[in-house]
């Protein structure tokens, strides 16, 4: 039987190149900023934290301030951006498979708006405390995302026994309801308007190692679920009935996948704000490169999303010093036209055929 060695080889290559690229981008992004640190120093600081490495020797001659800037300030931010970007892209792939719609993303399901609403409530009512490094805004955002998700599924199940359109419609309805509520909160609390608005635009400026750790736990769990369910998700693209007739436990697969994506998105949005289009564009590009099989698509989309987000965040904090551009606005500005271009190209291709 012909085995197509070339294709497997290309895929491994693509994965390898992206992984190497990700490491390079992490080190590079950590070196760039208002205080410029040589890339070699940034690399050495990262390497020094690996196990079995002689710390003193490798850190020799690096100023203390540089160590502080790289390790305590920049790296958490870069890693958080990478994990949120990669996580959103992977969640996008799974949502598109679950809802059999290439345009499904966390925003459509209302999860992002839920997080934004939670954050807006905390900001507007001046609820400000912090437990073990976890701030109230972050907690409220996470709770908002989870509660919205529960509401959406509750409504959808009552309405049409968990059908695909039912969930999408419930998500859209909840999303616009919450957006309106946020607008009201902003109008009643004029002095907090800017802060709420800035939170919604998305930023990684408040990154800490605690956030990185929290995000990493959720991310690893969710990605593991996605990879295990990869083939089931392939079959689900033929609809529940066909998938079931070929042996997929549809209800179990859907439940696990939906819970894992929701938690991942909720975690991502709660630490960064609303960051659009990553979960739409990255999966779309990767699908064109490696095809629709989810087991390949999910890890590659994760890598692509991580690189893209770190890059965007780097631009957001270095383009107009000393100010920052909201990274969410940046992904929208670059993402939306690119998405339109993809659609246009696809349409041209369709016309030629």
């Amino acid at each position: 039987m012909k085995k197509e060695p070339l294709k497997t080889w290309t895929l491994t290559m693509a994965g390898g190149i992206l992984a190497i690229l990700l490491v390079i981008v992490v080190v590079w992004a950590a070196a760039v900023g208002s205080v410029s640190v040589p890339v070699s120093q940034s690399a050495r600081i990262v390497i020094s934290r690996l196990p079995f490495v002689n710390k003193e020797k490798i850190l020799e001659g690096i100023p203390r301030t540089n160590k502080l800037i790289i390790w305590d300030i920049r790296l958490p931010r870069v890693l958080l951006a990478g994990m949120v970007g990669g996580g959103l892209a992977a969640a996008g792939v799974v949502m598109q498979a679950l809802f059999r719609n290439p345009l499904a993303d966390p925003q459509v399901l209302g999860i992002s708006s839920g997080a934004a609403f939670g954050a807006a409530v905390a900001i507007a009512f001046g609820i400000s405390f912090s437990v073990a490094g976890i701030s109230s805004i972050w907690m409220f955002a996470f709770a908002g995302a989870i509660l919205t998700m529960l509401l959406v599924f509750r409504v959808a199940r009552i309405a049409t026994s968990r059908s695909v359109t039912g969930i999408l419609l419930a998500g859209i309805a909840c999303s616009s309801m919450l957006t309106a509520a946020i607008t009201l909160l902003m109008m009643w609390n004029h002095e907090k308007l800017e802060q709420i608005y800035l939170w919604m635009l998305g930023s990684f400026s408040s990154a800490t190692w605690i956030k990185v750790g929290f995000m990493a736990i959720v991310l690893v769990g969710a990605l593991a679920c996605f990879i295990v369910l990869g083939r089931d998700l392939d079959l689900l693209s033929f609809g529940d009935h066909e998938a079931q007739s070929m042996g997929v436990s549809v209800k179990r697969t859907r439940t696990i996948a939906v819970v894992a994506t929701s938690l991942l998105v909720a975690a991502g949005v709660s630490v960064s704000g609303i960051i659009g289009f990553v979960s739409l564009i990255i999966p779309h590009i990767m699908r064109m490169l490696v095809g629709p099989k989810n087991r390949r698509l999910i890890p590659l989309s994760f890598l692509g999303g991580a690189i893209f987000m770190i890059f965007c965040d780097m631009i957001s904090r270095t383009a107009v010093p000393p100010n920052e551009i909201a990274v969410g606005a940046l992904t929208q500005v670059t993402g939306a036209p690119f998405f339109l271009y993809l659609l246009w190209k696809e349409r041209r291709k369709g016309e030629r055929e």
Binding site: R100, E242, M246
Partner: protein, 259 residues
């Protein structure tokens, strides 16, 4: 392995008349059985019970004497394969990918497609004539090509039973005959028994051993094809007069038009 419908009754909530009422039938192994009846007579609803897509409040589908709902989807899919009328697949999977999906019930989470899987899929694509399309996107196929790919997929599932919902509805004459021939050969080789929803009595007469005639959710007739396909019963069920011609032992059914 026996497959049996026992007192299947189905009435969606909020409707006045049931789609199926008290349908019982034991499908015999080693047979090709036609499921006949006008539109809306309950044929597809009956199939959906077998595929555990819907549940009858009183009745049940029994596989080997056990309620089919007590089997896991994976176990069930090693017994029953399904060819839907239309597929809802929309992703850019190739025909080969789609056909290979049917090997799912035989694989563990981390197993890749084996050489054996590929051989079975290749053979199935060959028999229904889609092998030359195997690298094309499934969604780029025409209706008839898609239908054949779905049949290849069901054959790749290598089940003792296969349920086909109007498998020839989009096919040209040559492929209609080819598909019926393939199914017949599988039955004769004692590999797969099939249940086929059909509207073409001439194909049923030529290829099917048995037939069930449904009307408004009731079984009007069941048994050998020859006993079920009679002008009298067809008139009763379809409200159309049929003329029957016989040539070399095979009967041909031609509807009489009003004028």
């Amino acid at each position: 392995m026996n497959v049996e419908a026992k007192n299947l009754t189905y009435q969606p909530s909020g409707t006045k008349t049931p789609i199926l009422s008290g349908v019982s039938y034991t499908f015999s192994e080693g047979c090709m059985t036609a499921l006949l009846g006008p539109n809306g007579s309950g044929k597809t609803t009956m199939l959906r019970h077998f595929l555990a897509q819907i549940k009858s409040p009183e009745g049940a589908v029994l596989i080997d004497g056990k309620d089919s709902l007590s089997y896991s989807p994976k176990e069930r899919s090693r017994i029953l394969a399904w060819v839907p009328q239309n597929s809802s697949g929309e992703s850019a999977f190739t025909v080969e990918d789609v056909v290979l999906m049917a090997r799912y019930p035989y694989k563990g989470t981390w197993d890749d497609d084996s050489d054996e899987d590929r051989r079975i899929a290749e053979e199935a694509m060959e028999t229904v004539g889609v092998l030359q399309f195997k690298k094309r996107d499934f969604t780029s196929l025409s209706g008839g090509e898609r239908q054949r790919a779905l049949i290849a997929r069901a054959l790749t599932q290598t089940t003792p039973w296969i349920f086909l919902d109007e498998p020839t509805s989009n096919l040209d004459v040559k492929h209609q005959i080819r598909i019926m021939q393939v199914l017949r050969e599988k039955v004769d080789a004692k590999k797969t028994s099939s249940i086929v929803v059909m509207h073409d009595f001439n194909l049923v007469e030529k290829y099917c051993d048995k037939a069930i005639l449904l009307k408004e959710g009731h079984v009007v007739a069941k048994g050998e094809t020859r006993e079920v396909l009679t002008p009298k019963l067809l008139r009763e069920v379809y409200e159309v007069d049929f003329e029957v011609f016989e040539k070399e032992g095979q009967r041909f059914f031609v509807p009489k038009t009003q004028d």
